[in-house]
Symmetry: C2
Subunit: 336 residues, 2 copies
């Protein structure tokens, strides 16, 4: 075959605060020939997720940072274009972790074949993938919403938050979503059937949240921190559960107040628990079964925000950290 | 019968910071005659517990405050001296919640008869009562120590802490106890078989704690807060559990830093959960069965620190808040 050029986005430098274009560099490099056992993957979709901001920093976290000059990491859906591995054939579509690049070489480890007939393959990066599983696992293991309880989630038009609210409704709870702007709020109520949606940019946001939760808050699914947590904290009921899967408001270095004190945890018997979705990997098939069923029955809806071409990834990522996306942020890297 | 005078300790005023003698008042009052269905209780033992400091304040908590001029609340073991209730006979010994007084009149609600042949009746206020159950329930439901994990508890010579460490050992974990002074530390290691005991007054306390936990901390049973929590926080392992049942270092109004941030909870996937023992009331018989067995077999030991006479209660209580007691703090109100 003719030589294939791989276009990739590498970490050019570590950001101070919000990442800028100068922290990324786009490169074209030649791909080596395949060895026995290897396959060549062409990226169809790249997933952009808030956790990637953490990988750009050098501090301790639950995963190693991306090294400067290395390819940015990320989940992908890819097509096998050449295979020297007996388990994969050209044309297979797989869920992979190829990062921000147009091609990747893999030995097959960690890949999962997708069936394009079951659902659009991009859903493996969203509602049927890591974001959907994060919502499901956090509610299943920590949030545990009961009928008529009130569940609050921020970034509610995003892929995790929209799944949290819809699953909460399916469990019989009330869902209150927080999002940025009137369009997202209308989508939450009209399309996803949240009970209430609140614009966090409203000057009376905290009062609106209080009015939306007349019986207090039983589950606060924490993915943003900051001002939302400050408004939530005084509304938490005794025995409230706070699954903590993200703090996007802090990722760019904003100062962090601590509205949940040890005293409030004690007196109100709160359960505050951090998790990342891989902690519950053993439950993935349970999730997939339940969520696929809901999707097929139209009980769960999803929305994607698709940037075109690998060159658009840095800008789309920076926008997502500021909430400019509307739906699961993807990059269509190749039409396949 | 001749008229009986009841001597009682009432809340004279609300303390600012540490309670002083001026916050209590001792009164002698006449007891009314019994109505049908009532019983007269003579207090044998009064339990003094840290939670009582919270009841002296007016702020919101998980229980209503004691009103000024009302009898201080508290758990008691009492003898029935007169009964007009068919369920109780003179001579019965019961667990009651009669408060800081020598006599009380009850309609029988909430009383539990004790069998003096099974265990000394004072244990119903300690190792077989609320403190022991607090230790057992916090570990059972939140701490969940596994074999070879490291469990750390402060106030370890007290009734909750000593039970936490001994139960942790019986579950196969390592127990590291923190206490004030050499005598208590020697007791923890020599009598209760903790693996390590550390004096929190040592200038190099934090370094000693680190050395005592070479594999980090998996369960921190939180009952003190403050400097101990600050030393514990950097040693917590990923997936550590922090049952929060008390913050005695803050009860007198000390400033509260928050060494456990939302970020540390997220990144380390900590579970931080407040509880009070009544949340798990349904498990009380399970506790009683297991703990009675351990006590009978000599696998759990306990120690009592007994003040003599109701007049000694305020001083004993103030001393307990400063850690001057050595063992479960009781007041022998009457020899019975």
């Amino acid at each position: 075959m003719t030589e294939i050029k791989n276009r990739r986005v590498v970490l050019a430098s570590r950001p101070q605060g919000a990442p800028g274009a100068e922290n990324f560099r786009i490169e074209d490099v030649a791909l080596p020939a395949l060895n026995d056992g290897e396959i060549l993957l062409q990226t169809l979709f790249l997933s952009l997720d808030p956790y990637m901001r953490g990988r750009m920093d050098d501090g301790p976290s639950y995963a190693a940072p991306v090294a400067v000059d290395d390819v940015m990491e990320g989940g992908t859906v890819a097509k096998v274009v050449e295979s020297r591995n007996k388990d994969f054939a050209a044309g297979d579509v797989v869920l992979s972790y190829s990062g921000w690049q147009t091609y990747a070489i893999s030995n097959g480890a960690g890949l999962r074949k997708l069936n394009p007939a079951l659902a659009p393959v991009s859903t493996a990066l969203g509602v049927l993938g890591m974001p959907g599983f994060t919502a499901w696992a956090g509610l299943q293991n920590i949030g545990q919403p009961k009928a008529d309880e009130t569940v609050v989630v921020a970034a509610a038009a995003g892929p995790v938050g929209s799944a949290v609210g819809q699953i909460a409704k399916l469990r019989g709870a009330r869902a209150v979503g927080i999002a940025g702007g009137a369009a997202k709020c209308a989508y939450l109520v009209n399309d996803l059937k949240f009970d209430v949606a609140i614009d966090h940019r409203a000057p009376d946001f905290a009062e609106q949240l209080k009015a939306a939760c007349p019986k207090g808050i039983d589950v606060y699914f924490e993915n943003v921190g900051g001002a939302v947590l400050e408004a939530v904290a005084p509304l938490l009921n005794d025995f409230a559960r706070v699954p903590v899967c993200g703090l996007i408001s802090q990722y760019n270095g904003a100062s962090a107040r601590q509205p949940l004190t040890m005293r409030s945890i004690l007196v109100q018997r709160l359960r505050v628990q951090g998790f990342i979705v891989s902690d519950f990997a053993a439950q993935y098939m349970d999730f997939l079964g339940e969520m696929s069923g809901w999707l097929k029955a139209g009980q769960v809806k999803y929305r994607e925000d698709i940037a075109e071409g690998i060159d658009a990834a840095p800008e789309a990522f920076m926008g997502m950290l500021q909430g400019r996306n509307f739906g699961k942020q993807l990059v269509r890297v190749s039409a396949g």
